[in-house]
C-alpha cells in the first residue's frame, strides 16, 4: 500500500514532529511497508466472524468508587522539567 508524502506530513504534524524531506521520503517507504504487511489480513476469510475491538474475551472490569490516597505532589512533579506554584510550567498556550 502506498503512503503519500502528504499523508506522512499530515501524520507528522498531528504527532508534533518536524521531518526533513529525506525523512519524509524514508517514512513514506517504511509506513507503506507496514501498511502493506497489515493488508495481508485482508486475505483471511472472516465470513461469519463478528468484529471485535479486544483480543481478550473479558468484559466488565470495574472497581468500586472508593477513595485511596493520591501521590504526594513532589512525586507527581518530579519528572517535570519546569514547575511553578505547585504546577507543571509549560510554554504559553495560545488559542
Amino acid at each position: 500500500m502506498k503512503i503519500t508524502h502528504e499523508e506522512v506530513k499530515h501524520i507528522a504534524k498531528l504527532a508534533k514532529l518536524s521531518l526533513s524531506e529525506e525523512e519524509v521520503e524514508k517514512y513514506a517507504k517504511d509506513l507503506g511497508g507496514i501498511a502493506e504487511f497489515v493488508e495481508k489480513l485482508n486475505e483471511v476469510d472472516v465470513t461469519g466472524v463478528n468484529p471485535t475491538a479486544h483480543a481478550v474475551d473479558k468484559y466488565n472490569v470495574f472497581r468500586a468508587d472508593e477513595l485511596k490516597d493520591s501521590y504526594n505532589r513532589e512525586a507527581i512533579l518530579k519528572n517535570a522539567p519546569s514547575k511553578e506554584a505547585g504546577c507543571i510550567s509549560v510554554p504559553k498556550v495560545v488559542e
Binding site: L14, A64, Y71, A85, G86
Partner: protein, 482 residues
C-alpha cells in the same frame, strides 16, 4: 433576529459526575484543592499503568440515559481520542466513539408555554482534562492535573433547537434531571456543567443545513443565551454581506460579550479514534438496566404535574419550583408544616426568590429552615400577624435566621384584633383629621384611604386591616349621619 432566517442549534452538554473518585483511578474528584494534589500515575498518564473503570460512572450514565428516554447499549466500549494539549498528559482522552452507553433518547419541556421535544443522539462516558492557568509573572502556562480523569458524561442533542429560549430551556431541563438523579452537582460556575453550542443559520424554506460553527465551554445560562444571539447575528451579517461561514471552533468571552474563532488548524481535529486496549468492553444485562430503572427517583416533570393537579399550583409556579430539586424539597417541607401550598408557593416565587437573587444565594444557603417559612405562613393564616408585618418578619428571618415566632414576640408585632382598642385609635385619628372627615361628608371617598393609612401608622402596622376598615366606616358614617 431577522424574520427571513431560521437558526439550527444542537448542544453538547458536559456534566461532571458526582462520584467520589475519578473515572480510572482512586484519586479524589473534589473541586478547589491545591493544584496537583489529587493525582497519581494513572491520571497523569505515566507509561505502563492500568486504568480500571469506576462502576459508579456506568451506573450514573445509565441513570441519565433512562431519565432521558434513551436506549441503553447492552454492549459498549471505550476509545482513545488522540490530540496534543498540555491539559491532557496522555495525549489522548479516553472517551467513547462508535458504541456509546446510551443512544436515541429525547427530552420534553415547555418553552414560553409551548411544548417542545429535543432528541438526544447519544450519551457517552469520558474523562475530563486538567486545568490550564495563565501565569502573569512569567507569561508561561501552569498545568494543574487535579481535574484530569474526573468522570464526565457528554449528552449530545439532535439539531432540534430553533431559538435561544429553546436552548436555555433544554439546558435547564437537563440540569433539573441531573439534580434529581443526584449524579452531578451542576455548579455551572465551577464548570461541573457546561455546554458547546453547534449553530448554523439558513434562509426560511431552505432544506439544506448551513455551515455550522461550534462555540465551546459555555458555563452559565446567561453566557449560553448571549453567545447564541451573537453567533446568529454574526452569521446572518456575514451571509448578507456575501461572506462565507467557515466550520470552526469558537470561544465566547463573556466579559467582553464577543465570540471569536480559535486559532487552531482544522486538521488538528483528526482525532484518530481507536479502541482503548486497556479497558474491557462494558456488557450490561437486562436485570442491571431494569434494576436502575426501577430505582429512579421522581423526575421534575412528574413532580410538576403533581403540584399542578394535586396542590392546585399554577403551571408557571409549579415549573419554577420543581426546576430545582432543592427548591421543591424546601417547598414540600414548608407545606408539611403549614398545610397551605398556595401561600408557600407565593412566598417562594416572590419574596424568597427576590431575596435569593439580590444576594446571589442558593436556597440551600438560606439561614432559616423550610419549617420556619411554614410557621410564618401559619402566623398569617391564624391572624397572629398581618401580611404586611409578615414581610417585615421575613426580612428579619432572612438576615438572622431566627424563628418567626421569636421575631414576632421580641419585636411586639402581634396583630391587634381587639375591636375596642382599635376603635379608640380610630376615634383619635378621626378627631385629629377634621378636614378629611369634612371631605368624606362632602362625598370624597378618597378621604377614607387617608384615615386608614393614619390609623395603620398609629398602630405601627399591627392593627388588623379588615377591622380597621370596618370601624372607620362605622365612625365616619356616625359623623355623617349624626
Amino acid at each position: 433576529m431577522r424574520e427571513d432566517y431560521e437558526v439550527i442549534i444542537g448542544l453538547e452538554v458536559h456534566a461532571e459526575l458526582a462520584t467520589k473518585t475519578k473515572i480510572y483511578c482512586s484519586c479524589s474528584t473534589e473541586f478547589g484543592s491545591d493544584p496537583n494534589t489529587h493525582c497519581c500515575p494513572i491520571c497523569t498518564g505515566m507509561p505502563g499503568v492500568l486504568p480500571v473503570l469506576n462502576e459508579k460512572v456506568v451506573e450514573y450514565a445509565v441513570k441519565m440515559g433512562l431519565a432521558t428516554n434513551c436506549k441503553i447499549a447492552r454492549f459498549s466500549k471505550q476509545d482513545r481520542k488522540n490530540y496534543f494539549y498540555p491539559d491532557l498528559p496522555k495525549a489522548y482522552q479516553t472517551s467513547q466513539y462508535d458504541l456509546p452507553l446510551c443512544y436515541e433518547g429525547h427530552v420534553d419541556f415547555k418553552v414560553n408555554g409551548e411544548p417542545k421535544t429535543v432528541g438526544i443522539t447519544r450519551i457517552h462516558i469520558e474523562e475530563d482534562a486538567g486545568k490550564l492557568i495563565h501565569d502573569p509573572y512569567t507569561g508561561d502556562t501552569l498545568v494543574d492535573l487535579n481535574r484530569c480523569g474526573v468522570p464526565l458524561i457528554e449528552i449530545v442533542s439532535e439539531p432540534d433547537i430553533r431559538s435561544k429560549d429553546e436552548a436555555i430551556e433544554y439546558m435547564q431541563t437537563l440540569k433539573s434531571i441531573l439534580e434529581y438523579l443526584e449524579i452531578c452537582d451542576c455548579k455551572m460556575q465551577e464548570g461541573s456543567l457546561r455546554c458547546d453550542v453547534n449553530l448554523s443559520v439558513r434562509k426560511k424554506g431552505e432544506t439544506k443545513f448551513g455551515t455550522r460553527t461550534e462555540t465551546k465551554n459555555l458555563n452559565s445560562f446567561k453566557a449560553i443565551g448571549r453567545a447564541i444571539e451573537f453567533e446568529i447575528d454574526r452569521q446572518i451579517k456575514e451571509l448578507e454581506n456575501g461572506g462565507t461561514i467557515y466550520q470552526e471552533t469558537r470561544r465566547w468571552d463573556d466579559d467582553k460579550g464577543i465570540g471569536y474563532a480559535m486559532r487552531t488548524k482544522e486538521d488538528a481535529h483528526d482525532y484518530r479514534y481507536f479502541p482503548e486496549p486497556d479497558l474491557a468492553p462494558i456488557v450490561l444485562s437486562d436485570d442491571y438496566v431494569n434494576g436502575i430503572e426501577a430505582a429512579l427517583p421522581e423526575m421534575p416533570n412528574v413532580r410538576r404535574e403533581r403540584y399542578i393537579t394535586e396542590l392546585g399550583l399554577p403551571e408557571y409556579d409549579a415549573t419554577q419550583i420543581t426546576n430545582s430539586k432543592k427548591m421543591a424539597e424546601f417547598f414540600d417541607k414548608a407545606v408539611a408544616k403549614c398545610g397551605n401550598a398556595k401561600l408557600v408557593s407565593n412566598w417562594l416565587m416572590s419574596d424568597v426568590s427576590r431575596k435569593l437573587n439580590e444576594s446571589e444565594m442558593e436556597i440551600d444557603n438560606i439561614k432559616f429552615t423550610a419549617e420556619d417559612l411554614g410557621d410564618l405562613i401559619t402566623l398569617i393564616d391564624k391572624g397572629t400577624i398581618s401580611s404586611a408585618i409578615a414581610k417585615k418578619v421575613f426580612e428579619d428571618m432572612f438576615e438572622t435566621g431566627d424563628a418567626p415566632a421569636k421575631i414576632v414576640e421580641s419585636k411586639g408585632l402581634v396583630q391587634i384584633t381587639d375591636e375596642s382598642a382599635i376603635r379608640d385609635l380610630v376615634i383619635s385619628v378621626i378627631n385629629e383629621n377634621e378636614q378629611s372627615v369634612q371631605d368624606f361628608i362632602n362625598g370624597k371617598d378618597k378621604a377614607v384611604g387617608f384615615i386608614v393609612g393614619q390609623t395603620m401608622k398609629a398602630s405601627k402596622g399591627k392593627a388588623n386591616p379588615g377591622i380597621v376598615n370596618k370601624l372607620i366606616m362605622e365612625e365616619l358614617n356616625k359623623r355623617k349621619n349624626g
